[in-house]
């Protein structure tokens, strides 16, 4: 019973923290947000943390993550490194606008909130709460269901800062927005960031969201993002996750998509102790489309859980899910894809696919693609595979002189590629290829991502030619 007591201890600790710090927590609030916090903490007290008896959490063991010792920061904290040193560089050849969180708090290099000439606003959620109450009243807490699980309620109660992005109607943002969230603290942190992204009618933006660790300290990030995509707007959302093995990331993203809007989401999970990506989208207008992709490369005792819920609420919408994973050693993965086609959502096209390669007998994958259909004129399919590398292909490669280890690398790389190929920013795609190659070769360390030290050891990799450089 000790395990349950441990998560109960954390629950009690958090409830107490909320009571003791509620003034500090709600210091930037509009009254309706403070009210939402009160309701949310009651919800959390009521439902508590998710557990293994809940269908969505069945194969994800939270006990270790919830029994860790954590502290929380109710004010910004930087740790011992200078900010400049931490945010050293960017993705090569990729010009981005960069906004960053350190230990869950927005880093303002210039101003906490920047409004560009075209009306695009980006920056700190805490600041935006104060300055744009009308936007928050309309959207904040409206897409995420706080009662879905304890983490959602907890986040709504505690969240103080995060990213805020607002793109007005008819504005196309050319440069991708790079959102970097870094943890750098000398002891275990429990952080609860919350992001709000609004895309106006006919607007377009690309976001690259990186979650990185800078040391081997444990941390727990319970992150919730709400995204509203208005009519004809287009969002591409990339997530790069490279966290240390003591890290837990609960990453829930709630999308609401209006008529003819399009979403492309791609989660690239390279490292992390326990990562859960929950993607929820409501296709709430005809002609909306959602492409939700992911690739994960896990080893040791890492665990990744990808959950996708797509609500086809209106007719003529399209959704496509593709998740591929490579699991080595004792790593484990869960894929739960749930597509709901409501009664009036005729002419729905919905596809789901999850493919896993297990490198060892001890690696595990659980796949549950699930279609729930109430309309009668739809085209839906789902499938999942869990297998080993094809021995015929291995022999073919080896018969040409390629050693078993490199043959394996070539095949794994090719397997992961199908998802990476869907990235439409060329520079980012190249960067991700490179990271995946390094990861497969065991050469990727947690600092080696988009935000940090990208000039690190760049050993040439034998089997790839960049044709543009010849």
């Amino acid at each position: 019973m000790s395990k349950i007591q441990d998560s109960t201890a954390l629950k009690k600790q958090l409830e107490q923290m909320f009571r003791e710090n509620s003034k500090l927590i709600s210091s930037h609030d509009q009254p309706f947000i403070s009210k939402a916090r009160e309701e949310a903490i009651i919800s959390f007290s009521d439902i508590g943390f998710p557990h293994g008896q809940m269908e969505d959490w069945r194969n994800t063991d939270l006990n270790k993550a919830l029994s860790g010792k954590y502290t929380s920061l109710f004010k910004p904290g930087h740790g011992d490194q200078s900010i400049d040193q931490i945010f050293k560089c960017n993705i090569h050849e990729l010009e981005t606008d960069q906004i960053s969180l350190l230990n869950g708090w927005y880093i303002d290099t210039k101003k906490p909130l920047v409004k560009q000439e075209n009306g695009v606003i980006s920056g700190s959620l805490a600041k935006a709460m104060e300055e744009y109450p009308e936007i928050f009243e309309k959207h904040y807490g409206k897409y995420a269901d706080k009662d879905k699980d304890g983490f959602q309620a907890l986040n709504l109660a505690f969240a103080q800062d995060g990213f805020f992005i607002y793109v007005p109607d008819n504005v196309v943002v050319e440069k991708p927005m790079q959102m970097i969230s870094i943890i750098n603290w000398s002891e275990g942190l429990f952080i609860q960031t919350r992001n709000l992204v609004i895309l106006g009618k006919n607007s377009k933006i690309t976001m690259v969201h990186c979650d990185d660790s800078t040391n081997e300290e444990a941390m727990f990030n319970n992150s919730v993002t709400e995204v509203f995509i208005d009519e004809n707007a287009q969002l591409e959302h990339y997530k790069l996750q490279n966290l240390n093995n003591q890290s837990t990331l609960m990453n829930a993203i709630w999308f609401r998509q209006m008529k003819n809007s399009s979403l492309k989401s791609n989660a690239i999970t390279l490292n992390g102790g326990l990562i859960r990506n929950y993607t929820h989208t409501v296709l709430d207008g005809e002609g909306a489309s959602a492409e939700v992709y992911g690739v994960y490369l896990m080893d040791k005792s890492q665990h990744v859980n990808n959950q996708v819920f797509i609500d086809h609420a209106k007719p003529n919408c399209y959704s496509n899910e593709l998740f591929k994973g490579i699991l080595d050693e004792e790593a484990s993965a869960v894929f739960n894809g749930h597509v709901l086609v409501r009664k009036d959502a005729q002419q729905t096209n919905a596809f789901q696919s999850n493919k896993n390669i297990l490198m060892t007998d001890t690696a595990k994958a659980n796949a549950k693609p699930f279609l729930e259909i109430y309309a009668d004129d739809v085209k839906c399919s789902h499938g999942a595979t869990i297998g080993q590398l094809d021995p015929e292909a291995m022999f073919y490669l080896r018969s040409r002189g390629i050693c078993a280890a490199n043959a394996r690398l070539l095949l794994l790389y090719a397997f992961a590629r199908e998802v990476v190929d869907k990235i439409s920013i060329e520079a980012l795609k190249m960067r991700v290829y490179d990271m995946i190659r390094k990861r497969l070769k065991g050469e990727l360390n947690i600092c080696d991502t988009c935000a940090l030290h990208c000039d690190g050891p760049n050993k040439e990799i034998l089997f790839e030619i960049d044709m543009t450089k010849v």
Binding site: L410, L411, I465
Partner: protein, 252 residues
């Protein structure tokens, strides 16, 4: 002698397929191995290349003076053995360019030759493509993915040209080929042929041998070579069919 196979027995899942086979191939020679389906032709080819599960229960495969039984397939390839597959496998996501570069560089590393630079490599690829009249687009695609039968076989010959093996075993490279592809394949073999290398061409039909003229023709039947002769043996087989061999054998 380049290759000497002595009393070779090969089993798959405990079932003996090759049953005491002898074969000698010298550098500069082209051998044809013919025979009805299911007599052990492909098993022999895969056993030479080192396919897992093809168990050599007794006998020797001596290549350049060394018994290669038990060697890993990549080691055999680096030593200069090449297998042209009857059914080349499709490998989505691996481009032919990267595949060949990896293979060639590993082979060169093993032979203590300097690794080719990207431009040297691409130059070599262009040269071989020209030699074999292979279209440019073929090498930009994933290995064999969506290839027609003819394209797959041309790709095998292309790989052979790139890797420049000493002993090439071509397993029914002619099966499923139209006459144009057949000519391309034959041209490849004839162009690549030197005094230092050798070819073992496995085929069911005599047709290919009109284009690749063998020095010696062997008939494989029930896991053994039952007859060897000059190229006229192939014509005799074509005219009389394999039943003729079967009858002769049962009489003997």
């Amino acid at each position: 002698m380049l290759l000497e196979i002595k009393d070779l027995h090969v089993s798959i899942d405990g079932k003996e397929i090759v049953k005491g086979l002898n074969l000698q191939v010298n550098a500069g020679e082209t051998h044809a191995i013919m025979g009805p389906n299911g007599t052990g032709k492909s098993t022999l080819a895969l056993a030479i290349a080192g396919r897992e599960g093809y168990e050599v229960t007794s006998g020797k495969i001596i290549y350049k003076g060394q018994d290669i039984v038990g060697m890993a397939p990549e080691e055999r390839a680096r030593a200069g053995i090449f297998l042209g597959f009857q059914y080349p496998v499709e490998i989505p996501g691996v481009s032919i360019t990267n595949f060949m570069r990896t293979a060639l560089n590993e082979i060169r590393e093993y032979r203590k030759l300097p690794v080719l630079s990207a431009s040297e490599f691409l130059g070599r690829m262009e040269e071989k493509k020209k030699l074999l009249e292979i279209q440019n687009k073929l090498t930009n695609r994933s290995v064999n993915e969506g290839f027609s039968g003819g394209e797959k076989k041309r790709n095998e010959i292309f790989q052979m040209a790139m890797l420049e093996p000493t002993l090439s075993v071509l397993d029914e490279t002619d099966s499923g080929l139209d006459i144009d592809s057949l000519k391309v394949v034959a041209k490849g073999v004839n162009t690549l042929k030197t005094k230092e290398n050798a070819f073992v061409v496995i085929t069911h039909y005599q047709r290919l041998l009109e284009y690749i003229v063998p020095d010696i023709v062997h008939v494989l039947y029930d896991g053994r070579i039952v007859r060897s002769g000059g190229k006229e043996l192939a014509i005799e087989l074509e005219n009389k069919g394999y039943d003729w061999i079967k009858k002769e054998l049962s009489r003997a």
